[in-house]
Amino acid sequence: MSPVAIAVGGAVAAALAGVVAALVVRRRERPVVVGTLTAAAGGSGVVAGGAALLGQRWSVDLPGVLPLSGVAVSVDGLGGMFLAVSGAVAVAAAVYGIGYSRHGLDGRFVQATVPVFVLSLLLVPVAGNVATFLACWELMALASLVLVIAEHRRRAEVASAGRWYAVMTHLGFVAILMGLLVLSVPAVDDSFAAVRAAAGSLSPALAGLVFVLCLVGFGSKAGIVPLHAWLPRAHPEAPSHVSALMSAAMVNMGVYGIVRIGFDLLGTAATGGGNRWWWLLVLALGAVSAVYGILQAVISTDLKRLLAYSTTENMGLVLVGVGASGVFATTGHSVLAALALAAALLHVLGHAAFKTLLFLAAGSVLHATGIRDLDALGGLRAGLPVTTAAFGLGALAASALPPGTAFVSEWVLLQALIHGLPTPGADTSIVPSIVLPIAVAAVALTAGLAVVTFVKAFGVGFLARPRSAAAAQARESPPTMLAGMALAGMAAAGLAVAPTLVLPTLGQVASGLVGSEVPVAGAVTIELIGVTGSLSPVVLTVALLGATVLVVAVPRLLVARRARRAARLWDCGGGPLTARMEYTATSFAEPLQRVFDNVLQPVQDIDVTHHRESQYLVAAVEYRRRVPDRVERRLYEPVLAAAAAWGRAGRRLATGSVHRYLGYGFYTVCALLLLLVITR
């Protein structure tokens, strides 16, 4: 029996045991038992995914389990990678959830849903036929929806977030359903192997339709602009370990779907690697999402909303890699295609690690203070030292600076994009000369804004002085929550220092999908094959650490011999500095908001109230500023208004009179009969 089979079976068994345990174990022990079993399921997922990445394959058909087509499981390298990522996120989130669930999240229903959600996350990438895939996808959507609305009794916004999420995820499901059904029409059955074999017989227009439908569905799950509206609503309102699962594991499934459809099922060698416009569309959507997502993150003052927008940004970067890979594949640069796809997969991995860490740390802050508003936080270093260190590590990992996790993947991505730029004397078609430079610029702009975002989140939220009583009295979270953060932190640090442990394997997966040689190698130094470029994250980290020690320690040693005098902090002589004088998240982002005024279009109101006696004396000035999501305002509000108007118009037809409804039926039958008479 294959090790993958044992591990997948173990994951399913552990998750189901978790569900049963949630229903039968007493409330006091319930979070521990469920958390342990869920973590075991996640661990088995990591083992299964790791084995699949190392070349183990497994597939099985269980025709009796689901009606019509049955359940089929098939594990390959691509699925194995996403399986391992979901499993690893689940381990950290489940361990964290043991401590986090103590406060009102230890009910039977919520506790039983967590292992179901984890199980669905593990099963989506190993589904071997369309029916299994769709069933797992829907299970994932429903389980996550239940978890998003877990705290709906405490906060009114949760219900609204749940409605947005429910509607958008199901519209996305409809799109995927239509796409996959059209795709599997010419196949003998709905297994992925049969679909792959028959995809060549689809006409180009139909194949394009399938790709666009799937892109819409999977893009909405990945939080791609303009289908991102649910993400900044649902992620902040969900319990934090669920936010981590959603933001670090569930959104990846959107990327998995796009890669699976585009490179494996639809865009196989038989159809010539897909059409170029598909991938240009993916690239454009990715670039827009990356820039728009990080711009919204820069100006967000809600810590978890900021992280949710950062997820949109990172998924955008991943899609830039995927789109560039497809473009390179259709233009015949297969090594660059494999390199860009490997960069995208590495970014998925790194994003999962640091976003888990960041959401868990944000949850720890929420647990200790009850506050998500950065403008009311600050000064957490004293009360929450471990959480502060964890968020600091996550912020470094997310900000694409060495020695961060995102730095390595964005470096590989930029190498692929830059080597695709036109060389003198080569072809000067529109793709290399216009699209790729814009993509490089978008990635670079995103990286720069990400640094600002995370400097803001860490500096304003955790350092300086506390801006509220709750932040001043914060106490560190229980050990299980710290253990969850430590697991995610180790993964993020490991991927930052030693990405070479996984990058060649991801390169193999990517090269298998686009049909080229493996694009990267190296045990300590990342060496790109086919293009010139190498990077050694270990050496870079050691050099940076050495430089930091030199800059910090040497001056201290030099001045240590001099006499020191303790003096008051200089406050212009006027009295103690207060927390109100600090930079807030809003004021920190204000210059950038000014720069991107045309894109963000903030709404400002100034109300000046005058004294009753004189117009020249001002009694009060009220200033309000809001930065509404512009895509939402321009795209969603008209659609919602039109739907509401349509509903109101329909209400006039349904007045509640039985006679009228009978009349409708009668006239419809008459009209149909007339139609038959005329057309016959």
Partner: protein
């Protein structure tokens, strides 16, 4: 923009040098702390309750005509950067504590110059209800500049006493 720069240069060229010739350097009364500063004194000005007459004269002392900077004295924006405080006016109640804190913020070795009659002995404000006292009642004073207001030449001479140039 370019025109503005050019016209500025033109003006500088046309006006030329307008500083007065340097009078002979003062020889007496140099505080011993000032010697250790080596001829360069960074000065922080504190208005402890002045009528702003002394400020106008300090302004001209540091202006192009008297130009005390050529003797090594320079105005700075924070007591953390300063070697000496230039205090004007009688010390009012509201400025007593800030003056003390400003003095504490100056790194050692440090000097205090009381500029004007008000700073020396409260001048016309002596005994007023809002006045704590002269500068010397709040912080130790090393040098005094008489006058109401003191002429720029006298301020320049006092600062030259500190720099020794």
């Amino acid at each position: 923009m370019e025109d503005a720069v050019l016209s500025l240069w033109h003006k500088i060229w046309r006006v030329g040098r307008i500083s007065e010739a340097a009078p002979p350097a003062p020889t007496a009364g140099r505080p011993s702390v000032a010697v250790s500063l080596g001829g360069s004194v960074q000065v922080r000005h504190v208005d402890a309750g002045s009528c702003n007459g002394c400020e106008v004269e300090i302004g001209s002392a540091f202006g192009p005509v008297y130009d005390v900077e050529r003797y090594g004295a320079r105005l700075v924006a924070s007591p953390r950067h300063a070697d000496a405080l230039l205090v004007t006016g009688p010390v009012t109640r509201n400025m007593t504590e800030p003056l003390r804190r400003t003095y504490d913020a100056v790194p050692q070795p440090r000097l205090v110059v009381a500029v004007g009659d008000c700073a020396r002995n409260c001048g016309v404000f002596a005994g007023a209800y809002g006045v704590t006292g002269a500068v010397g009642d709040v912080v130790p004073v090393d040098l005094e500049v008489p006058g109401c207001p003191p002429r720029p030449e006298v301020i320049v001479e006092a600062l030259r006493t500190l720099t020794g140039r």
